[in-house]
Symmetry: C2
Subunit: 279 residues, 2 copies
């Protein structure tokens, strides 16, 4: 199959590696000539160009740009494509993407591969990035069955685990397990750095260990990515933050009231519930 990739960063590049290994002919489009050359040299694509018209013959196009570029890039891209081309994207928020694209391109299905590394850019691309990872597809009532099955078949061949859901459900789920943790973790770092007694602050910095390290990790990550999540998934994230504040207040109240049995029961439930999410 002839497959196009628009945007050759970590996700687009990793897709290219795997799709070529699977025998597909891969066309890559990116904004910089130097990235085109790099993509060919690395064996990520068969052909590369800064010109979107290269994708005119692709049967399926994956849009792998940063989330803020997906809609504007698609609006340009569709000038070059026949109506039969199936388009999908890899944005980490789905409702605003699907709502904007579905009306202008029938053969579109939103997607979100839950895979990544701390690095970005084409040199961070790697083979088998999607193997064993969740890959969410978010068809809506208007999505053609053929578009769903074409993209699902490719995703399955990457070794990913496919989940189907409406875009809004996806966004609420990732606001809980991905976007909320960033804000929760960010507020922890800000609290510790905000300590006004310089001796206590110095001591906290000396004593911080694995508990602080793990809990603060995602809050110390890429700020552009954090803003992007908040911007595109604002409503779901605000709702998650609101729920979170209530849960935090409950714990605080138990401590204020010295209700140690109540606090113990809450912490025990947490210990039992966590394995329902992660090993």
């Amino acid at each position: 199959m002839k497959i196009g990739i628009l945007g050759l960063g970590l996700i687009g590049g990793s897709l290219g590696y795997d799709l070529r290994s699977l025998g597909h002919y891969v066309l890559g489009v990116t904004r910089q000539e130097s990235t085109c050359n790099r993509a060919i040299a690395l064996g990520i694509v068969d052909q590369a160009s800064v010109d979107m018209s290269l994708l005119a013959t692709a049967e399926v196009v994956f849009i792998c740009t940063p989330i803020g570029m997906i809609i504007p890039q698609l609006q340009q891209l569709i000038n070059y494509l026949p109506a039969t081309t199936v388009i999908t994207d890899v944005g980490s928020v789905k409702a605003p993407i699907v709502q904007n694209i579905a009306p202008v391109w029938e053969n579109f299905i939103g997607g979100h591969p839950m895979a990544g590394t701390a690095d970005s850019g084409i040199d961070a691309a790697q083979r088998h990035l999607f193997m064993g990872r969740p890959y969410v597809l978010t068809p809506d009532a208007t999505t053609p069955k053929t578009a769903i099955s074409v993209v699902a078949e490719i995703v399955r061949s990457l070794g990913a685990n496919i989940y189907y859901c409406p875009p809004e459900q996806h966004d609420r789920a990732v606001s809980l397990i991905s976007h909320l943790p960033v804000m929760v973790s960010a507020a922890l770092i800000a609290t510790c750095m905000g300590e006004t007694d310089s001796q206590v602050l110095q001591l906290a910095q000396n004593l911080a260990s694995s508990g602080f390290r793990d809990t603060s990790r995602v809050g110390g990550g890429n700020p552009e990515l954090g803003v992007m999540m908040a911007q595109y998934n604002r409503q779901a994230l605000l709702s998650s933050l609101h729920q979170y504040r209530q849960r935090l207040d409950e714990l605080t109240n138990l401590i204020e009231q010295q209700d140690w049995q109540g606090l113990g029961l809450k912490l025990q439930s947490n210990g039992e519930d966590r394995p329902k999410f992660v090993d």
Copy 2:
């Protein structure tokens, strides 16, 4: 030197291994006969007993019981000791311990080795547990210089990095970097499990990945330990929780007001501040 250890769990047992390796004669006291036998079989102690009188000839005694037992055990222990015996403890909160013990035993210095594993009990004990780890000593104005230097010398020989501070400073620092993360992380698990839409909850459980895993780790830990921290370090933890809530509200307000530049600046500061605490 003849060194006593009261309580042969993870910390007491690990101390025993290292102190014997360093050539000390180690006396262990624990509540169960079977633990005495195990401690001797493992080579953790030279002699073991369920009877505190075994410690009468020790020059230094480390109290390594769970934090709630430290004060009552010390009150019994001192009936068997000459006034010259130096006593230290390994409790993870210091002010309430030091306030209670200093008036009844002059040669006392509080301590807190910041080392541990997820496991507990004598079979979790390991050699070199304290190597390269922080070990806080919390002398107050009344602590005899000799008591400080005797304990400091032993701690240094374990390969630990010693920090000295008043008990209250220790408790505020650990409330920030150790106890607050537990509550922050616990509230995250409770928020996700509290999702009322069962399809979103199921999806969140399927999609949860490294971000959720790391941020939720300490909140899903030992509930007794979490309650203990809150109980013994209540005031400092409540103050940290209060500060945390303000930082979280600031982030929430930026998102509500769609102040993406302001949010970006906060997240960027966090990324710059986190390495001041952990690598």
